[in-house]
């Protein structure tokens, strides 16, 4: 133990790590009633880290050239030792991240945790969700399969519904009249450098907001009281709370382990879950495969574009909904957070989820 103590002393006298630990980890108190849903943030941090590591590894063998991309992914899957593992972790990980992000957002909505002057936390979180969908979309093109090619063609084509600038916008997104090598180039750059950098920055700001404002206590139990926030900044303290580290951290760790186990279960027991047949065919710009469908988290958007008589209305509805969601903390100003006392909100919450699931299922089978 002596050498470890000496090392900690060495660092502590220079950076004051013991003080940091006492204030920010052990002394960082969480509300006593904090529940399992509060672990999703930590889970997402680990999942994003896995994406970064596997992404860097894949980058060593992937070739961003429309002539070679498909073959390079084939080589990763077949020739490079454990290439299949890192590719599957990356692809399945993206889907699991979307699941975790949605659960995170839904639990925050259910507990109205965006209330109490947490607009910045909500806005950065919502931007992270959208940016992650952007990462999914750009990453989808890289294997240059039939699925990649046509999903990207359909997705970029949707922008054409915007009046006046639509047609130019489609070409601008693609870097040419059709999806081709230029599209691959820009999607690749955005996917491996541009978006991850912005994402890291946003995650930093999001964490800063969470930490600076203080954790929002769950709105449950007898002793919970809705209170009007003060007109000046005040960190929300939880004086009789439990230490974040190690008391609550072990729960974070447990849920992280279960999420990774879930990912591994998909990889080894249902490897084809997120890979339709067209994911294994090289892209052919002259042959549209039948039944081309976006990933499950885009099905709702795909189907809304189809059910409205014109795409512009569909896009408008999607835009309006996303804007409404982004601005929710500014619209919903009541201090009441208990789900039981907010029947209208909870009804809309449940109905919206049901409508989304229904539209997605419809989109899947249409």
């Amino acid at each position: 133990m002596q050498p470890i103590k000496m090392l900690v002393d060495f660092v502590d006298t220079r950076l004051g790590v013991r003080d940091l630990y006492n204030k920010e980890l052990h002394g960082y108190l969480l509300p006593r009633k904090v529940n399992a849903w509060y672990t999703l943030g930590a889970v997402l941090l680990v999942l994003f880290k896995i994406q970064i590591i596997t992404g860097i590894l894949l980058l060593m063998f992937y070739v961003p050239d429309s002539e070679k991309a498909f073959a390079s992914v084939q080589a990763i899957m077949n020739d490079v030792p454990y290439g299949w593992l890192f590719r599957m972790l990356h692809a399945v990980g993206a889907n699991v991240i979307m699941i975790a992000l949605l659960l995170h957002m839904l639990s925050v909505l259910f507990m109205s945790s965006y209330k109490g002057r947490r607009e910045f936390t909500w806005l950065t979180g919502f931007t992270i969700l959208n940016l992650t969908m952007g990462l999914c979309l750009t990453g989808y093109l890289l294997p240059w399969s039939q699925l990649s090619f046509w999903a990207t063609t359909v997705a970029t084509d949707a922008a054409g519904a915007i009046p006046v600038i639509g047609d130019y916008l489609v070409e601008f997104l693609r870097g040419g009249a059709t999806v081709g090598n230029q599209t691959l180039g820009r999607f690749f750059a955005l996917h491996v450098v541009g978006m991850p950098l912005i994402l890291l920055g946003l995650i930093g700001v999001h964490l800063f907001c969470v930490k600076r404002r203080g954790i929002s206590a769950p709105p449950f139990g007898e002793d919970y009281k809705a209170s009007e926030p003060l007109p000046f900044f005040e960190h929300e303290k939880h004086k009789d709370g439990i230490p974040f580290f190690p008391n609550y951290f072990v729960k974070d760790a447990a849920v992280i382990c279960f999420f990774i186990a879930f990912m591994l279960a998909i990889i080894f027991y249902a490897p084809g879950l997120f890979f339709p047949e067209s994911a294994f065919q090289p892209a052919d710009p002259f042959l549209t495969p039948p039944h081309i469908k976006p990933e499950w988290y885009f099905l709702w958007a795909y189907q809304t574009l189809k059910i409205f008589p014109s795409e512009i209305i569909g896009l408008g509805v999607q835009g309006a909904f996303m804007t409404f969601l982004a601005l929710l903390p500014f619209i919903d100003r009541s201090p009441e957070r208990r789900p039981g006392k907010r029947p209208l909100f909870i009804t809309c919450y449940v109905l919206t989820i049901l409508v989304f699931v229904a539209i997605s299922v419809w989109g899947h089978y249409s």
Binding site: L57, M60, V80, P81, Y82, L85, F86
Partner: protein, 143 residues
Amino acid sequence: MPTHVSPPQRRKFLFTMLGGLGVLIGAASAWPIFRFLSPVASGSGNDQVVVPRSEVAAGKAHFFDYRGKPAVLLQPTPGNFVALSAVCTHLGCVVAWQDQAGEFLCPCHGGRFSADGQVLGGPPPKPLETLVVELDGDQLKVG
């Protein structure tokens, strides 16, 4: 579990187990990454490298790949063939053949080698490695 075990004692035991699991999980993650990054086996192994005789003109040098490393074939006098490693023994640059001088010059730090690989000047500590070469019909077999 007996009830008299206090939570801190229980935790100590559980953390020890977690430590063990951590080592196993760490190994299970590190091994695939190590294998993923391991260098690819350099193909041909100990095979002879075959170069057509016509590629090597008298007084000229022919550079080729010998088991993954640069090498050079010379014909100093008609019918006489020499094969050398083309990697300078100083810092690993590839030596260049000087037609007029009939010697190698390393472009990095001016090391000079004769046509049979001996050091003529400059910083190289050792001669160029000599490779076995034999003439078989109109083919040169190196190695």
